[in-house]
């Protein structure tokens, strides 16, 4: 392979991971945008989504198919949507008027509960996720794009466009933006703030669930603690892009994925996290609100 082909392959590697980060980062950013809560259980919702997808793929049996993948994505989205609603109702809503720190602790508690629940149900070992799509892909020069990578790009972009349309084009989206700016004023205008918050959790969690299935089928093994590291990276992506900002999550995810990929490919695999996080620190020093952060409305 020539140096140019290698570079393209590295960009492709980075983009694939980056889009998965972006899907999860959306959940962090949406919830933070609305109630300024860092939902640390979000990584675990992603992991539950991966297991929900695995369960569906195993029920269908054998080497999965495109239909199996669609079913797995749908099931994971529904399971995580309900899970997100339940977490919000049980762990966060009762603490709405409590200090911010209480909700943060509650989030960490939920994350432990989910990890251990999945460990008890599915066992502590890595699980193999059957490949849903053929491994042979389309060749562009010496670079190969696999069907699974194409699905990751397609699904992520479609979901993000859809989300943007929802936030800026629907009544729910308008209510979400109003709540983000000022929950009290929104309530005075007759918006059911609780319902808006619940919807935000539901949408963010469903996206994480879909991200979980894509992650699981792409890397083919999942474990009950996968939510931790990947969730942390996605959170980083959200901060990098400007937490609270939807396009920022996409930008942050793709940037983090590329940084990690290129650092591992051209510098050293063991230093890739150092490089990625050094860039994060640098960005935050120069732009404390993240790359696209200034669009977040300043609260009085």
């Amino acid at each position: 392979m020539s140096a140019g082909d290698l570079f393209l392959q590295q960009v492709l590697n980075g983009l694939t991971l980056g889009f998965v980060y972006a899907l999860i980062a959306l959940g962090y950013t949406m919830v933070y945008g609305i109630i300024q809560l860092i939902n640390f259980a979000h990584g675990e919702v992603f992991m539950v989504g991966a297991y929900a997808g695995l369960t569906v793929l195993l029920m269908i049996g054998g080497q999965g198919s495109a239909a199996g993948l669609v079913a797995a994505l749908g099931a994971a989205a529904v399971v995580c949507l309900l899970l997100g609603l339940a977490i919000e109702r049980v762990a966060y809503r009762p603490l709405r008027s409590a200090p911010k720190l209480s909700a943060l602790i509650s989030a960490i508690g939920v994350s432990f509960i989910l990890q251990n629940a999945v460990m008890l149900v599915y066992g502590a070992q890595d699980r193999y996720v059957p490949a849903a799509l053929p491994a042979s892909g389309w060749k562009f020069g010496a670079v190969t794009v696999t069907p699974m990578q194409a699905v990751i790009f397609g699904v992520s972009i479609a979901l993000m466009v859809g989300l943007q349309a929802l936030v800026y084009g629907t009544r729910l989206g308008r209510n979400m933006r109003a709540t983000a700016q000022d929950p009290l004023a929104a309530r005075l205008m007759g918006i059911s703030v609780e319902r808006v918050i619940a919807s935000t959790f539901a949408i963010g969690s469903a996206l994480a669930g879909i991200g979980g299935v894509l992650f699981g089928t792409y890397y083919s093994t999942i474990n009950f603690h996968d939510g931790y590291l990947t969730g942390l990276k996605a959170f980083t992506a959200a901060v990098l892009g400007g937490i609270g900002n939807v396009p920022g999550a996409l930008l942050g995810g793709v940037l983090l994925g590329l940084l990690e990929g290129l650092a591992a490919g051209y510098l050293s695999a063991q230093w890739k996290n150092v490089v990625a996080f050094a860039v994060l620190v640098l960005v935050l020093l120069l732009r404390p609100r993240g790359l696209l952060g200034e669009r977040v409305a300043e609260r009085a």
Binding site: N13, Y128, T221, N223, N273
Partner: protein
């Protein structure tokens, strides 16, 4: 309120009921029983459990006492290993410890057992540094990586004809240590090391470093690490169309490697193992029969769990009383121990003189023995 108090007390009473039985002697057992390497830990635990069960059936180890195995989970995390070790050290009923699995856990824990004058028998932690700390409480029944690394280098160069090699490790005590031994021996034999890099345990995406390796086009990739990462490496290597051969260490010797990687991706990889083919050892025949009757197919590390636990039981039996120092001096008196893996003679560091390194390959979804070297 009264009802709550009543409930609480009845719970306490229920739990306290467990403690009132005959006097016990405990053998601690520590390994990752949860997390990605739980399959390895479970292999070990079953061997240890079988040893205790068989010993109990033969009669008391020390008259008046029953022996129980206390499994502790360290989740391959050194911090958790240390806290588990402290818990065992603080329990006066514990007379010996079998464990841990990972060298990065065994090493810090060994200092705690040494301070508590508690006999520790390490079944499979192969990092040579552990025994060089000079703890008289430490014994080990497997060969070390200053043997495994050079054996792997010899196999890579002489048998696989590798000239240009890229080395990866998982940056743990075990992985980095083994990789360094391999690199030293491979360079001495004239092979060219194109690079030596570390990957992080628990991560999933190794395509960037593999893409880089693809650009260098080596004959062989040597990986010193554990099976979960190895499974991802060989699978992503296949997807990227990397043709280099793949050789790993004993951390890959686990059936789960093949399941997680898929048999197609694992086909044709090589790995070195601590010890040769156990199925060729006449001394291990009865053990394998008993094990497979109880648990099904033999796990890669099960014989080591069994051997280490039997050795601990032997030391306790010879001590004849419930005392840690008596167990330690009894262990020192064991000059030759005929086990299922061969006759162990321990050197001044507590390392066994059984120094066989085996080589396996994967064919049709099964591990196949290739050769053994001394």
């Amino acid at each position: 309120m009264v009802r709550r108090a009543f409930l609480l007390f009845s719970c306490l009473w229920l739990f306290s009921g467990c403690g009132k039985s005959e006097p016990v002697i405990k053998i601690g057992f520590v390994a990752p029983l949860s997390g990605d390497q739980a399959a390895h830990g479970e292999d070990l635990r079953r061997g240890a459990e079988l040893a205790i069960e068989q010993a109990q059936a033969r009669g008391p180890i020390i008259p008046g006492f029953s022996v129980v195995l206390v499994p502790v989970d360290d989740a391959r995390n050194p911090a958790q290993a240390v806290s588990g070790a402290k818990r065992l050290a603080a329990d006066p009923h514990v007379l010996a410890v079998v464990g841990h699995l990972n060298s990065s856990c065994t090493k810090p824990a060994s200092a705690i057992y040494h301070e508590a004058r508690l006999l520790q028998i390490s079944p499979v932690s192969s990092n040579p540094e552990i025994s060089r700390q000079g703890f008289d409480t430490f014994y080990r029944i497997c060969p070390t990586d200053d043997l495994q690394g050079p054996a792997a280098a010899r196999f890579a160069i002489q048998r696989l004809g590798a000239r240009r090699i890229f080395v990866l490790d998982d940056m743990t005590t075990y992985g980095r240590g083994l990789a360094n031994e391999f690199v030293r021996a491979a360079k001495a034999s004239g092979a060219e090391i194109l690079g030596h890099e570390g990957i992080t345990q628990g991560e999933k995406d190794f395509t960037p470093v593999l893409t880089k390796i693809k650009g260098l086009d080596p004959d062989l990739i040597y990986f010193a690490g554990m099976f979960p990462e190895a499974a991802l490496l060989v699978q992503q290597k296949l997807k990227l169309g990397l043709r280099a051969k793949f050789l790993g260490g004993d951390g890959l010797f686990e059936q789960a490697l093949i399941t997680l990687a898929t048999p197609a991706a694992a086909e044709g990889i090589y790995l070195t193992t601590l010890g040769g083919d156990i199925r060729q050892l006449p001394t291990a025949k009865l053990f394998i029969e008993a094990f497979e009757k109880k648990y099904g197919p033999l796990g890669a590390y099960s014989s080591y769990g069994y051997e280490a636990t039997n050795l601990a039981l032997e030391a306790i039996r010879r001590a004849g009383k419930k005392s840690r120092s008596a167990v330690l001096s009894a262990m020192r008196e064991i000059k030759e121990y005929p086990g299922i893996l061969g006759t162990h003679i321990f050197d001044s560091r507590g390392d066994t003189m059984i120094r066989t390194i085996g080589v396996y390959t994967v064919h049709d979804g099964q591990f196949q023995f290739v050769e053994a070297s001394n």
